[in-house]
Amino acid sequence: MPEITKLIHKYLRHDKKFPHVWCPGCGIGIMLGALIRAIDRIGYEKDEIVLVSGIGCSGRLPVYVDFNTLHTTHGRALTFATGIKLAKPNLKVIVIMGDGDAVAIGGNHFIHAARRNIDITTIILNNSIYGMTGGQNSPTTPYGMRSTTTTYSNIEQAFNISELAVTAGAAFVGRGTVYHARLLDSLMEKAFLKKGFSVVEVIAHCHTQYGRQNRLGTAVEMMEQQRDQAITVEKAAKMKPEELTGKIVIGVLVDKELPVYQDEYEKIQERAKAGMGQ
């Protein structure tokens, strides 16, 4: 067994929950590998990691890993994560969401968690479709594309998740694709180490649903499309907005220092206790 596989096995509940539910060729496995490698590199204890997810293909991820894991309701993962983090600030809380979770049903929770700058890392698997329910239109399905609920054509504009996170006030926002696995490793490591609300958007393919309905080819072909569409943040900065149409800007989009919710609340606690003593 290669060293890298051994490392991943160290963190899996491999004797309990496999085989997994994902389709052969799915990008979630690459994302999970990046997550595990980043956790291992930083050296977190398994006990201090809490992995929280919502509903859908991405929602099934926590069940396979040997951390404190919580599979919540659709779109609400961040609300549970907020409670866990505030109750036990020493835990490292990581949220896994899909595009439906993050910006459709849970859009409100997402922007407010970013605005609060609560110390949680959110990893969003964006595959432009509702995969588990059979390929319906999601808020990140591009204009003009097909799904089982937009069989004629999608007439809505897609959300740009990372830009939404930047605007909502997240302290760290990075975007990668499952083709750029090494970049994902480093983005996740940076996000985990960031104090404050950090977001990593992972562009992935759903060849089973989105790819099939839009004739985009196999998993490998769709990953090649990710490679061809990707532009680094540095390159994109020198390009005109119209040149970026249809491109995926990858890298660190924002990394800034902001007051972190827990630190601010600790000050409130000190003030409240001092006031009580008077």
């Binding site: 069940v63 309701t73 609300t79 409670g83 505030l86 036990k88 003030r271 409240a272 006031g275």
Partner: protein
């Protein structure tokens, strides 16, 4: 002499307070050990949030105002899973939003307390007027077949006591507990004595004592309640809203689903005696017994006293536990009563249950009021005159 008395008072740490029902809920929560509150402003429950936003940070607790009621319940479930006793408070519209995550707390067996200060509905309804329209929603609001514990309070002191009781029951049975009060009780001010030395039983969840590798998080036990490990204490396990096996992992095996759902019900149904409390007031010889709860129970008590003065044999069964329904208490009053009168500020929610328990031995009559005003003792007395 006066000085001496004051010193005595301070010594016993007794405080006489003029408190609102909502404020008493907040005090009760603190006494029960609540150290996390997440909420969203809503009339007529907002005072609970306001008081706890001041009080919780004083005791190293946390208050957070969330973006909506869905998030509020999610946050308190998360905090409870991390080991901190947690509560939220709302009213009808917010309670509707909470039904989704309420189901998760039930299936994942995470203790938490939800206070619903009832106002008139449906929809935005009557934000500043009382009602008792959420009794059935509290029982059946979240989807799927599930057990639930719902308590009520009719005085400021009961708001305090029932909040503590709600925490104790939720910790003991690993279940969300709902406290239903109404706008009148929530906003009414009464004198209440808070005694810091008063012996009040506080129950904390049973934690696992075995080594982590032996821990089975959803194991069946004689009581039906498994020991609960808090996140971050060395017991890594999976918590899900999916139907799960004893280890917490999703399952679709009928031989695992059936026993799991049965255990969820059994852990409540085998402890009715502990969960159900009420008050029998002059029911021993009563021919007409009023069954009431919340602010209506106060009017009913007054009506009993006045009816007795007129020589009528009237009694009161006050329900403090609304769900699971107090079947045996109703059966007890059916032994003497010819008429059961159920006054409610809804179109008849608890009266349906009373009718269900009555097997034709008595007449069950209702008094329903849904105009945003309380049911007065006089109205109950008039109804007694009609039916006697």
């Amino acid at each position: 002499m006066k000085k001496h008395n004051q010193r005595e008072k301070r010594k016993s740490r007794q405080r006489e307070l003029l408190l609102q029902g909502n404020e008493a809920v907040a005090e009760g929560a603190l006494r029960a050990g609540c150290r996390f509150f997440a909420g969203y402003p809503i009339t007529p429950a907002t005072e609970i949030s306001e008081v706890l936003s001041v009080r919780l940070p004083q005791v190293d607790g946390t208050f957070i105002q969330m973006e909506d009621e869905i998030a509020s319940l999610g946050a308190i479930i998360g905090a409870s899973l991390a080991g901190v006793k947690s509560m939220t408070a709302t009213s009808g519209p917010g309670f509707s939003l909470m039904q989704e995550n309420l189901g998760l707390a039930i299936i994942a067996e995470i203790p938490c307390v939800i206070v619903n200060v009832m106002r008139g509905g449906p929809s935005t309804g009557l934000p500043t007027f009382p009602a008792q329209g959420d009794v059935m929603q509290a029982r059946w609001g979240t989807h799927g077949d599930h057990p639930i514990i719902v308590l009520s309070a009719s005085t400021v002191r009961e708001c305090y006591d029932m909040t503590i009781r709600a925490f104790n029951l939720s910790e003991k049975f690993r279940t969300p507990v709902i406290l239903l009060i109404d706008e009148v009780v929530g906003h009414m001010r009464e004198k209440m004595i808070l005694d810091a030395d008063e012996k009040i039983e506080i129950f904390n969840r049973i934690k696992p004592t075995m080594p982590p590798e032996w821990y089975i998080p959803y194991e069946d036990t004689p009581s039906g309640v498994p020991a609960m490990a808090n996140f971050g204490e060395g017991y890594r396990y999976h918590v899900t809203g999916l139907t799960h096996d004893v280890r917490g992992f999703p399952t679709s095996r009928p031989d695992e689903i059936g026993p799991f759902i049965s255990r969820l019900h059994r852990k409540i149904s085998s402890h009715f005696a502990e969960i159900q409390i009420g008050e029998f007031f002059q029911t021993e010889d009563a021919e007409i017994t009023i069954v009431a709860y919340g602010c209506v129970a106060r009017s009913a008590k007054r009506a009993v006293i006045e009816a007795r003065e007129k020589g009528l044999k009237v009694g009161l069964l006050k329900l403090s536990t609304l769900w699971p329904f107090m079947r045996s208490a109703v059966e007890k009053i059916l032994q003497t009563s010819k008429v059961l009168l159920v006054p409610e500020m809804n179109m008849g929610q608890i009266s349906r249950e009373v009718k269900r328990v009555n097997r034709g031995t008595a007449r069950v009559v209702t008094l329903n009021k849904v105009d945003g005003t309380i049911i007065t003792p006089m109205e109950i007395l008039d109804r007694i005159a009609e039916v006697s």
